[in-house]
Amino acid sequence: MPETLLEVQDLHTVFKTKAGVVKAVDGVSFEISPGETLGIVGESGSGKSVTALSVMRLQRPGKIVSGKVMFKGRDLTKVSEGEMREVRGQDIAMIFQDPMTSLNPVFRTGWQVAEPVRLHHGLEKAKAMDVAVSMLGKVGIPSPATRARDYPHQFSGGMRQRAMIAMGLTTTPKVLIADEPTTALDVTIQAQILDLLRHVNRDFGTATILITHNLGVVAGMCERVMVMYAGRVVEAGPTVDVFAHPKHPYTWSLLRSIPRLDAERHEPLKPIEGLPPDLIDLPTGCAFHPRCKFTIERCSRDVPVLNRVGDTQLAACWVTQSGVELKGA
């Protein structure tokens, strides 16, 4: 087992709203090793983005109420804001879903891409710009020296996302967190960006945390996957095993509810009935139990803990932990 690069332990992040306290992240733990690609999947409101933002300490107005984020022997939830600023961009970089709003429209793209090396490595303008231009070239932007002088609005969506990735990589971070990096893009552009992320992972050895709602993207990109529902991790394990033998009814149902391009015959989809839960007023016990086909009496009473089910997977489910196989129509 390779050494752990980043370890999140029992993280809790809450948002206080007028209607009540939202437990956006409710006891999430995971770790990532150098060069690894970890997928975090879940629907809107599952807490996947807030988990990533909490790692970067960008969760405000949310508040990290407990838990640890261990990186290079330090707990990032405890370090000063100044130290955290060093970590961001330098050690851990993040790219966001919407490349349209995450670049500043009034600065030239090259200048923005060069900013992390100026700030973190103290390079002078001209040298920083050289780094930026070479990185823009590496992420596949044609004639990078000229394009670096363009403003973001002169870039297409895919180009902007490439520029964001270039910006994240200039300081050769150890961890790259990509939060829905392709959701706003067309599929052919999505394929380009995913291909780029694969190259980054391989060529720079950057550990990648890929947050997405798209199970297909996870299948193609990630060695390990973590499935979130209502702020909790419900299942985790090697992607191949989780997709072949899901051990949590949510994962199991989700995989059966999506149409597949390679389906041979037309069969009606098997939807998950009901609605995603209200985070202010979560169901008792397992948050998924009102929508679950396998629910037993205990599910509405006790919150299931994440435990080993099978050889390689973890699942937070009383049913599968008792040895029951998930199957059925």
Partner: protein
């Protein structure tokens, strides 16, 4: 098809004829600039489309953002005025219809929109949202109107009591059900579904897809299903049309399109779509397209896809490839098609 053929169709339209047929359809949007706001160019959103939709079928329409798929859908039901070409509905030329005649036809057509948050008036009750088409077309009043609203809510799987509530009280999936109930209110035969599930959570999408399929068989509906997600489109459609930069480049039954795409754009589009199976996904060969879609203001000469096409040859720039038959119900517009 020559003009006389349409006249004949109009006289003798039967259910075996195409419900909708579109010929040489163009929808251009003017771009004006300068002090005088003179029209200097056009966005050629739809630029010469021929398409037939049979009664009772679901025709899927896929393409990337900006390819003109929504504009095409809206032009077909005359929410937008075509720049050129003809639209026939039930054999009748509706291209230039206005006023009462057009309204008559509108009772036969409806639309379901992408964004269930923006397409429902927040100040109307659910009942009034669904009842509005009934009022406009004078279909029901008073008690009858009320009953019809209750019935429609039930049909889309919602509690009739929700009629007095407001849209903000509902989730995205429920709002989309309300949008569907509104579309059904006039008793249409043809519904344009414009990205009806893209704004919904993954676990809710299947509920709406199944609902649309159930309603189709119950009310004998014909759908034009517009989406960018080819897996969803293939699932719900009988035939799939692929659009690129204002043109249809390929049409075929879904399975056929997946097994044997002939247009290089379809091929790369299919290979770009991730399949939720890590074993299959790792063994797949990808054709990753270079660059972005060209501008619809000034599309490339000849074949519009040639600027990104891995198979393009000089001839592709000189002449525009026509849609040609590649077997039963399979059309593609390419000089050097895939095998």
């Amino acid at each position: 098809m020559p003009e006389t053929a349409h006249v004949q169709l109009k006289k003798a339209w039967t259910a075996s004829d195409p419900l909708v047929s579109v010929h040489g359809l163009k929808t251009w949007f003017p771009i004006s600039s300068g002090v005088l706001q003179r029209t200097t160019a056009h966005v050629r959103a739809v630029d010469g489309v021929d398409l037939e939709i049979k009664k009772g079928e679901t025709l899927g329409l896929v393409g990337e953002s900006g390819c003109g798929k929504s504009t095409l859908g809206r032009t077909i039901i005359r929410l937008l005025d075509p720049t050129a070409g003809t639209i026939h509905f039930k054999g009748e030329d509706i291209t230039h219809q206005r006023g009462t005649t057009l309204r008559e036809h509108r009772r036969d057509m409806a639309m379901i929109f992408q964004d269930p948050y923006a397409s429902l008036d927040p100040r109307q009750t659910v009942g009034d949202i669904i009842g509005e088409p009934l009022d406009i077309h004078g279909l029901a009043k008073g008690r009858e109107r009320q009953n019809r609203i209750y019935e429609l809510l039930q049909v889309v799987g919602m509690n009739p009591r929700f009629a007095d509530r407001y849209p903000h009280e509902f989730s995205g999936g429920q709002r989309q059900r309300i949008g569907i109930a509104r579309a059904l209110a006039v008793g249409p035969t043809f519904i344009v579904c414009d990205e009806p599930i893209s704004a919904l959570d993954v676990s809710i999408q299947a509920q709406i897809i199944n609902l649309l399929e159930r309603l189709q068989s119950k009310f004998d509906l014909t759908y034009l299903f517009i989406a960018h997600d080819l897996s969803v489109v293939k699932h719900i459609s009988n035939r799939v049309a692929v659009m690129y930069l204002g043109k249809i480049v390929e049409v075929a039954p879904g399975g056929q399109l997946y097994r044997r795409p002939r247009h290089p754009y379809t091929g790369s589009l299919l290979s770009a779509i991730p399949i939720p199976d890590p074993v299959i996904e790792r063994g797949r060969e990808r054709v990753i397209l270079q660059g972005d879609v060209a501008s619809p203001v000034n599309p490339p000469s000849g074949c519009r896809f040639r600027t990104r096409c891995p198979r393009a040859r000089p001839h592709c720039a000189e002449e525009e490839p026509p849609l040609e038959s590649f077997g039963a119900e399979h059309l593609a517009a390419c000089f050097y098609p895939l095998d």
